[in-house]
């Protein structure tokens, strides 16, 4: 068998085993959560009988091991079960609760990735090309600054900037400035598009409207993740530039751009894609703060709400989706690393 196919199958198998172990961890962790959904739902005044009846109805009276296998059995068949918020005659499946939220999260993640990954690669390549120049320093400083601020701060600053478009000229600060300066600042502020500061969307929102409303959360996330990817791209390329074959390329009269793109980058993919995968996973599992700031209905907020209301099936499903995302993206990174290594792809 081709060694690449074998390695990929091996990694895939390992990924599945990891996912299986994760289901055990998720289930045990949630089983250990304090509080009781039935009591929380029925309130302080509920009699023990009503609580027991309700527990029986949603199935949490059975032993944990039995519940675990029932849950895993369902998932294998593609069924995430019913939310505890279901009523008799009104069943709400976990899938139907999660689906629109997951779509929104994926939408934001893909949109951000489409901006951030090319931006990070481009900046990283240019920084490597013009290393130690003022351009390199500016890019490094700016990206380091944006990654150093907490993301809610970046989010609020961006929102404030948008609001300032309309309010700056009326502020005391603006009036204390010379008129020409205040006017030019106002002019610059008005160059910024009037992005909505609330990303409230529904399933009826048209596609481009969705893009427009998701702009600020997307920019915030881009500012947060770009530094890591850009710095790794720069470092991986510069690391390659010390190789004898780079000296050779220089002596062959190749231009600096061709050296970086044709000779260094193809050998630098492995560390770069690992970091990209890590950051893309963050876009799906780590965005809850940004969702809250911009009131964007994503899966992070859903999970937080579900934890608060002890809606265990939803929490479990979210956790599992997060875990699967990590595993899948890292698997993809591994496969790309293998596929860009000719020693593995074309054995002797």
């Amino acid at each position: 068998m081709n060694p690449v196919v074998r390695t990929v199958l091996q990694r895939l198998g390992l990924g599945l085993i990891t996912l299986f172990i994760v289901t055990i961890i998720i289930f045990s962790a949630i089983a250990m959560l304090p509080g009781d959904f039935a009591k929380a739902m029925l309130g302080q005044s509920a009699t023990p009988e009503t609580v027991a009846a309700f527990q029986r109805e949603i199935g949490i009276d059975r032993p944990p091991v039995e519940r675990y296998f029932a849950w895993v059995g369902q998932i294998v068949q593609g069924d995430f079960g019913s939310s505890f918020a279901s009523r008799t005659g009104y069943r709400r499946t976990v899938a139907e609760i999660i689906a629109p939220r997951l779509y929104n999260t994926m939408f934001l993640a893909v949109m951000t990735a489409l901006i951030a990954v090319p931006l990070a690669l481009g900046l990283g390549i240019l920084a490597a090309l013009y290393r130690n120049s003022w351009f390199d320093r500016v890019v490094n400083t700016v990206t380091l600054t944006t990654i150093s601020f907490p993301e809610f701060f970046v989010a609020y600053m961006l929102a404030y900037l948008i609001i300032s478009r309309d309010t700056f000229i009326g502020t005391e600060f603006a009036q204390s400035l010379p008129e020409w300066l205040a006017a030019s600042i106002n002019w610059v502020l008005n160059l910024v598009p009037k992005f909505p500061t609330l990303a409230n969307i529904s399933d009826q929102t048209p596609f481009w409207e969705h893009v427009w409303r998701a702009a600020l959360p997307s920019i915030t996330l881009t500012l947060v993740i770009v530094a890591h990817m850009m710095r790794m791209t720069r470092a991986a390329i510069i690391n390659m530039l010390a190789s004898p074959y780079i000296d050779m390329a220089r002596l062959k009269g190749m231009s600096p751009m061709a050296i970086v793109l044709r000779h260094a980058l193809p050998n630098a993919w492995a560390p770069i894609v690992t970091v990209i995968a890590f950051n893309l996973a963050y876009l799906i599992v780590g965005v809850v703060v940004v969702e809250v700031v911009f009131v964007y209905p994503g899966i992070g907020q859903l999970m937080v709400d579900a934890v608060k209301s002890r809606d265990v099936p939803v929490v479990q499903a979210c956790a599992l989706i997060f875990a699967a995302t990590y595993i899948l993206l890292n698997l993809t990174a591994d496969i790309i690393s293998i596929a860009t290594n000719p020693r593995l792809l074309h054995p002797r």
Binding site: S243, P244, Y245, D247, M248, A249, R250, L251, K252, G253, M254, S255, A258, R262, H263, P266, N267, T340, P342, R343, H346, R348
Partner: protein, 550 residues
């Protein structure tokens, strides 16, 4: 015939002229001179050999001829005129246009200098396409033609392989094709065969010489091997410490070197130790077969005897199993079958089964002292470690012994606190020798211990090893691919080829004809100082091939 393909490129007009070249390198926080005022001139179609020890500045001069200084180096003074153009006065972009197209470069390690991510053909034609000299298709066709002329196997398809799929000798020829792709006026060959086996070296040398003659290309051939440069160059320039020692036509230089330094370079090759027949045997290897995991046997049925107090040289090209044999003897690789007896006792095959005392009695010295020394340990720590570990020496006794050992290797107490980075290559190898001797061993396995060193340093190390043998009666297994080293140090020779022992016996027996066929090939491939050696050898082999065909 020589000028058939060269059009107006008549041999004889001036191509390159370097005047008063000064190059500096930055290290230890300051600039050091590397090249100090070298003049050089080269005519079209002429091959100039640059020769000298490492640090003589020969590679730096080669690169300067392309208007290039390595990162961390700078050209501070002088002029470099290439075909009437001042290379130092032009912009970097303009110089880049010359590189690859009119001045090309062939590097020492082809394996490291080919980009692992691209196919050979793509790399061969890269300059042609980038400089806009020919279309991609025409360049591909031409590259295949060059592969054919350089006698690469399967010239039509070899270009579609990746560098790791091709052998070192083939890569070196592919790199020559890459340099030739734009039909440059000048090629810089920077030690192109140093990393190759002698048997492979002959083929690469022949290919390079043939193609340089066919296209009437001028070349600067940088090497530290006198015999090689004698085959390749029309004229030789001897360099030392960044200065020209002397310069002359090849034949004249070989016949009558004017300077003392040049004569010392020549003399190195003549070191030869009279052999002493064995009295009794220290190590007996019986029918060893070994493999690394898989089914490919690296050693097959190898039997060798090592006499006490003598030196057995194990020779053969890379892949012949020499180093694997060392791993089996030291216990790093347990063999699949066969047995070893050491000083009359059975030698257990794994390290675990061997007692500390048995471990002490067999020591090893490696090719690369850089890798064999811990960069964070001082000379004192390195030498004292076996004293503490094997012999349990402590305090004043240990210090005394360390000093004693340092004097034994012709160094002194001032080195005690130095780290490996503060030592020269030869000094580092001496420390490795002291470390091996510290254990009072009966057998030392020397794995290519002089291959990474300059010839003059090589000679010193070999003399040191021989003196230590006389003093302590230690036996050496000397693994090498260099016949001159064998001449210098061996009592007995074992010739290995593809995991098997081809021939073994006393040095004179093995080195005097008739030889086993592989020994013949190996010995005849060792370059000699005669400038006609390569021509004669190729003719002889050609005649033999024709004779065999009839």
């Amino acid at each position: 015939m020589k000028n058939k393909n060269s059009g107006q490129r008549e041999k004889g007009t001036k191509l390159l002229s370097i005047r008063n070249l000064h190059v500096e390198g930055f290290s230890d926080e300051r600039w050091h001179p590397i090249v100090r005022g070298v003049d050089l001139s080269l005519k079209r179609g002429e091959v100039l050999g640059l020769i000298g020890e490492s640090g003589a500045g020969k590679s730096t001069i080669g690169l300067a001829a392309m208007g290039y200084a390595k990162p961390g180096c700078r050209i501070t003074q002088g002029s470099i005129q290439f075909d009437g153009i001042d290379l130092l006065a032009m912009t970097e972009t303009a110089r880049r246009r010359l590189r690859g197209s009119r001045i090309a470069y062939v590097a020492q390690s082809a394996a490291a200098s080919f980009n692992p991510a691209h196919r050979l053909l793509d790399q061969t034609v890269e300059t042609v396409v980038a400089h806009g000299i020919a279309s991609r298709e025409a360049a591909n066709r031409d590259a295949i033609e060059l592969y054919r002329r350089l006698h690469l196997p399967d010239p039509d398809t070899i270009g579609f392989r990746y560098p790791h799929q091709v052998s070192g000798g083939q890569l070196q020829r592919a790199m020559t094709a890459m340099a030739m792709a734009c039909r440059p006026d000048l090629i810089i060959f920077d030690e192109p065969t140093t990393a190759l086996d002698v048997t492979t070296q002959v083929e690469v040398l022949a290919s390079i010489r043939k193609i340089v003659e066919e296209f009437n290309t001028a070349a600067i051939y940088v090497t530290h091997d006198l015999a090689v440069v004698a085959q390749m160059a029309d004229r030789i320039m001897v360099l030392r410490h960044g200065r020209t020692v002397e310069e002359a036509e090849t034949r004249q230089m070989l016949a009558a070197p004017a300077e003392d330094y040049t004569r010392t370079l020549w003399a190195v090759r003549k070191l030869a130790k009279p052999e002493v027949p064995a009295e009794d045997y220290l190590l007996t290897i019986d029918n060893i077969t070994a493999a690394y995991g898989g089914t490919v046997k690296v050693l097959q049925d190898v039997s060798i005897k090592v006499p006490r107090g003598r030196t057995v040289a194990v020779v053969g090209e890379s892949g012949s199993g020499k180093s694997t044999l060392a791993r089996v003897i030291t216990g790093l690789l347990p063999p699949m079958s066969g047995s070893i007896s050491f000083a009359g006792h059975y030698l257990p095959s794994t390290l675990k089964e061997r007692s500390k005392d048995v471990l002490r009695r067999i020591q090893m010295i490696y090719q690369m002292p850089d890798n064999a020394l811990n960069p964070r340990q001082t000379v004192e720590e390195v030498i004292a470690r076996p004293l503490e570990f094997y012999l349990g020496l402590k305090g004043a006794a240990r210090d005394r012994r360390v000093n004693q050992l340092l004097h034994m290797i012709e160094m002194d107490e001032s080195f005690l606190d130095r780290l490996p980075v503060e030592l020269s290559g030869g000094q580092k190898q001496r420390i490795c020798i002291a470390r091996a001797i510290a254990a009072n061993p009966e057998l030392i396995i020397c794995d290519e211990v002089t291959s990474a060193l300059d010839q003059i340093v090589q000679e010193e190390i070999l003399k040191l090893l021989m003196r230590l043998q006389q003093e302590f009666g230690v036996s050496y297994i000397f693994i090498t691919h260099d016949i001159a080293t064998v001449q210098a140090i061996a009592d007995e020779i074992v010739v290995m080829h593809r995991g098997k022992v081809v021939e073994q016996g006393l040095k004179t027996e093995v080195l005097t004809p008739p030889h086993a066929p592989y020994t013949e090939l190996l010995l005849s491939s060792v370059p000699e100082m005669d400038p006609d050696w390569l021509t004669n050898l190729l003719e002889r082999r050609q005649r033999k091939r024709v004779g065999a065909a009839n």
